[in-house]
């Protein structure tokens, strides 16, 4: 397999309440640079777990995860942190902004942490991102002072400040109204046309239509894929998966 992201026969098990829960069973996946892939499945199917492994937030119990040529499965905690800093941007359902940092500070934080880019360049990048995401006027505000849609756009800007190889989004519209959610997905589309590799986890067929490829997952296994599907087709295949 060759690609920006290569997952080979990955297994992942969690212990919940003392009993093991198999989240992923022998998952294999390859994503090319510049792809926009959506991962869909019912609750508990393992889609978020797969996303976490792709982002180096967790390690597989077995199998290989290679992203941008780096074997995440073999990395230490510190190496994973450095990897995330430089190669991955995350966007979460609940935004996960730092509550006592302003919008600008939140956006610049990953770059400051990385330290490879000078302060002036960091500010310039932040300005560009804020303009692109239409949040420039909110730069001095705290997250609590923003709407849901604005917060998510801040989160997107933060995820992009270090120009990551991949952008991972876990239900990014789950906490937004349809208008805001639609705006976020349009932004993703724009980014993708600019060459950004995006992996989107969602349960919303409408959101998945923005992706070029949809991967379906159930009970920890990939059950199928589709390219260029519309919402109805996605919904059908999703319900087919849910019904087993």
């Amino acid at each position: 397999m060759s690609g920006l992201i290569n997952v080979q026969d990955v297994h992942k098990t969690y212990a919940t309440g003392g009993r093991p829960f198999v989240a992923l069973r022998g998952v294999s996946l390859s994503i090319q640079p510049g792809e926009f892939v959506a991962i869909m499945g019912p609750s508990g199917s393992g889609k978020s777990t797969l996303l976490h492994l792709l982002g180096g937030l967790d390690r597989p119990a077995s199998g290989e995860v290679v992203v941008a040529g780096q074997p995440l499965h073999a990395m230490s905690e510190t190496q994973l942190a450095l990897f995330r800093r430089r190669h991955v941007g995350f966007v979460f359902q609940f935004f996960n902004l730092i509550t006592n940092l302003t919008v600008r500070d939140n956006i610049e934080l990953p770059a400051l942490l990385d330290g490879r880019v000078r302060g002036g360049e960091i500010s310039r990048r932040a300005d560009v991102l804020m303009d692109a995401l239409d949040i420039a006027t909110q730069a001095a505000k705290l997250p609590a002072q923003l709407s849901g849609g604005q917060r998510q756009r801040v989160a997107i800007a933060r995820a992009l400040i270090n120009r990551p190889d991949i952008l991972l989004a876990d239900e990014p519209t789950g906490n937004l109204d349809s208008a805001s959610g639609g705006e976020v997905l349009r932004q993703f589309k724009v980014l993708n046309t600019q060459g950004q590799t995006i992996v989107l986890v969602t349960h919303d067929p409408a959101a998945a239509t923005h992706a070029a490829r949809v991967v379906f997952i159930r009970d920890g296994q990939i059950t199928g894929e589709g390219a260029g599907l519309d919402a109805a087709q996605i919904a059908y295949r999703l319900s087919h998966i849910a019904d087993g």
Binding site: N96, T99, P110
Partner: protein, 776 residues
């Protein structure tokens, strides 16, 4: 009610760490409060308890042997207010020899059993047994002055020369008066020993000790006795209240420091407890919001937190009081022993109950206020924001840290230290209390050490004194003027003065170069020895009589010598170590204006730095025989080690409580920020950087606590000691803070701030990001 109880149980069981830390804080605070309260209550009544245990005599009468008979003594014992008597006591004043030291003593005859009235406290060795034909008990004060121990030999001067006796024990007499009535030190021997040394009963001195129904009626009983007997039958007397005042002086300075620190420790422990409990409740604002969303009323919300905190308070206070009771004897028994009191602490159940009640009251107040505040906050705001919105103001400290190019995790940590002002204040207060307690302890110890090194700070301005017997004043002065190693001599006579409203006090009448004796002036100037009618007054006298420099002091002096009052102008206020500072000083010339017979009986000596005491003694013996007796001043400040130990114990306990509180605050802070920590890790913060961030946050507060707490502590201790000094008649305190040494408390503050964050920091670093994000 079941809903409330269920929530209480769930909180206690599921927030074990937080519950444990709050309970630990209450436990430690209760132990400290118990220790402090027990210390203060035991120290304040030391003499009274000792006096009661020994069945002390409230009034001692010393008779003029030629003017009194056995029946006279019996009539005195039969006075209406007298409930018990020592019976007629016989004694003989003589000289004693201990190595090369000689001193005047009074050998007193005692029985083979301890007396019923005015028993002796044996502080070392044992009481005399019937076999001790050559045994003697030595008074505790004398033993301390000359380092006498059981087994030593002391020789008593008799008509046929010095007779050696073996010291079998050291004894404390509860009514041996050192100040108001000048008495020689007491030694005690069995009747057969006494009579073998002094067979002539006509030369014996007579005295009797009386226990009174009303202890405060000593003056009235004395007057009745005087009225009943011949005019000069009673040569002198000792009032137990004067002895108590004199007794307490030696511990006064230390007691004052202990009281000062004790009060501070009490206030600090309460503050830390309040802080911890309030902080813990405030950390549960989200929970409060959820409870309200579910339908809990404000009162029910308060009941939930009151319930769980009272349970912790009850457990913590009971265990803490028990620990305080168990630990108190460790420093305090030796302290009591050093005060010549029975090494047996008294625990007052009412006091202990008061501590328990007080702790629970603090718990209640600390809980109800934040709980009710939470109940009033908008429900959605409480759920989404918690206790407080992070501050929107830019952090100057963080900007400074960034300008200094400190690593980003440090900058974030510094900024985060004050992101939530309420939480920061809670942590800072705990740290400040810990720092200030250390500063307090440091400064008090330094002050105590200062007084030890330079007793003149406490008013002890001479190195030795010489008492004169069987020699004229002029002859004594001639001899002393040429004595080797003597830098200055001041002739000293004692007098008694009484104001028109009956307040009596002692007066020093001195002649010599006062400038050679470093009296510490609080105001005004020293008396001019050549001028008449000038007086300086001790700080205690100033407070007692309400006098100031420039006022006139109108008194009668030495009742029998002068009927009309005299007036002295107060020209200064000075530190007087005796009688709680309730003394005055005039020139001998001034005294002779009212008492022509006044003559010095003592000569205060200042020695040269390398004076040879052996040479001086030999000189005096060769020139004056036994007419001039030299005594070197042993610092009248009692052994400070035990007090230091007690203060150190309280101080360290307080700092430990502060550390627990900081740790608790840090854990709560971490809990509140668990999502953010997950986000930081997601963004690429390494575990080490997470720890650095958390430590930087704690360390920032520690630095601030050090910078504020050290000077604040110095100010507080100075103010506290000044007020205590006024209360105890001590005057102002010479305190020069050793800022270099005070760096240590500042460093401790930083250390505590960092240490209190280590565990939460490491915990945060080890957090599984996925679990954290899912938890959020």
């Amino acid at each position: 009610m079941s809903a409330i109880l269920r929530k209480i149980k769930a909180d206690l069981l599921n927030r074990r760490l937080s519950a444990f830390l709050v309970t630990l804080t209450i436990f430690a605070s209760s132990a400290l409060l118990t220790l402090t309260a027990t210390t203060l209550s035991n120290m304040s009544g030391v003499y009274d308890r000792s006096f009661a245990e020994l069945n002390g005599a409230h009034l001692w009468l010393y008779f003029n042997r030629d003017q009194v008979s056995h029946s006279d003594v019996a009539r005195v014992e039969g006075l209406p207010d007298v409930v018990a008597s020592t019976g007629l006591q016989v004694s003989q004043v003589s000289r004693a020899e201990l190595g090369s030291d000689k001193m005047t003593i009074s050998l007193r005859q005692v029985g083979a059993q301890q007396p019923q009235v005015n028993a002796l406290r044996i502080t070392a060795g044992r009481y005399l047994s019937p076999d001790d034909e050559r045994g003697v008990l030595v008074d505790n004060h004398l033993a301390g002055q000359y380092n006498v121990r059981p087994g030593d030999t002391i020789s008593i001067s008799t008509a046929s020369g010095y007779k050696p006796l073996r010291v079998v024990g050291l004894a404390l007499n509860p009514t041996w008066d050192t100040y108001r009535v000048t008495q020689p030190a007491y030694l005690y021997a069995l009747d057969k020993t006494f009579q073998s040394l002094f067979p002539d009963s006509s030369a014996w001195d007579w005295s009797v000790g009386l226990r009174l129904a009303n202890p405060d009626a000593a003056s009235e009983t004395l007057a009745s006795a005087q009225a009943m007997l011949r005019s000069k039958a009673i040569q002198d007397h000792t009032d137990w209240r004067n002895v108590r005042d004199a007794y307490m002086f030696s511990a006064q300075l230390n007691l004052m420091f202990l009281v000062t620190f004790g009060l501070f420790a009490l206030a600090a422990a309460v503050l830390i407890m309040t802080n911890s409990i309030s902080g813990a409740v405030l950390a549960q604002f989200r929970d409060i919001g959820v409870l309200k969303a579910l339908g809990f009323t404000g009162r029910q919300v308060a009941a939930v937190y009151l319930g769980q905190n009272l349970i912790m308070g009850l457990v913590g206070s009971l265990l803490g009081i028990a620990a305080g009771v168990a630990l108190a004897p460790v420093p305090l028994n030796t302290l009591l022993r050093s005060l010549n009191a029975a090494p047996r602490l008294v625990f007052d159940p009412v006091l202990l109950g008061g501590v328990g009640f007080g702790v629970l009251l603090v718990v209640m107040v600390s809980t109800v206020w934040p709980a009710r505040r939470g109940a009033r906050v908008n429900t959605i705001q409480a759920i989404t924001i918690g206790y407080e919105l992070p501050s929107a103001k830019p952090s100057r400290l963080a900007a400074l840290a960034r300008a200094a190019r400190l690593p980003i995790p440090v900058v974030i940590g510094v900024k985060d230290a004050f992101a939530r002002r309420g939480r920061a204040a809670i942590t800072l207060i705990s740290l400040l209390v810990g720092v200030m307690s250390l500063v307090f302890s440091f400064e008090l110890n330094a002050a105590l050490d200062g007084y030890l090194r330079d007793p003149s700070l406490a008013g002890l301005v001479y190195d030795a004194w010489v008492s004169r017997e069987d020699m004229s004043d002029s002859a004594a002065r001639r001899i002393l003027a040429q004595a080797p190693g003597v830098k200055a001599v001041m002739a000293h006579a004692s007098a008694k003065a009484k104001t028109s409203d009956g307040k009596s006090f002692r007066v020093r009448a001195q002649e010599g170069d006062l400038t050679q004796f470093p009296y510490k002036l609080e105001a005004g100037r020293l008396i001019n020895p050549d001028a008449e009618g000038e007086a300086i007054i001790g700080v205690g006298l100033q407070t007692w009589l309400g006098l100031n420099v420039g006022d006139t002091l109108r008194v009668t002096v030495n009742d029998s010598a002068q009927r009309s009052p005299v007036e002295w102008q107060v020209v200064g206020v000075y530190r007087e170590p005796a009688d709680g500072g309730q003394m005055a000083m005039i020139s001998l010339r001034t005294l002779r204006r009212v008492d022509h017979t006044a003559e010095p009986d003592t000569y205060l000596i200042r020695l040269s730095p390398n004076a040879d005491l052996g040479l001086l003694r030999a000189y005096l013996k060769s020139r004056a025989g036994e007419s001039l007796i030299l005594a070197v001043v042993n610092t009248q400040l009692s052994d400070l080690l035990q007090f230091k130990l007690t203060m150190l114990t309280l101080s360290v306990t307080l700092s430990a409580i502060a550390l627990i509180s900081v740790f608790n605050s840090s854990v709560l802070n971490m809990r509140e920020r668990i999502g953010e920590v997950g986000t930081f890790k997601t963004l690429g913060m390494t575990p080490r950087q997470v720890v650095t961030m958390v430590l930087a946050s704690g360390g920032t507060l520690g630095v601030l606590a050090g910078v504020i707490g050290v000077p604040l502590g110095v100010v507080v201790v100075q103010v506290a000691l000044t007020e205590m000094g006024k209360l105890f008649g001590f005057g102002s305190f010479d305190m020069r803070p050793d800022w270099a040494a005070l760096l240590l408390p500042a460093l401790v503050a930083v250390g505590v701030g960092v240490l209190g964050s280590v565990v939460p920091g490491r915990w945060a670093a080890r957090l599984n990001v996925v679990e954290v994000l899912q938890y959020e």
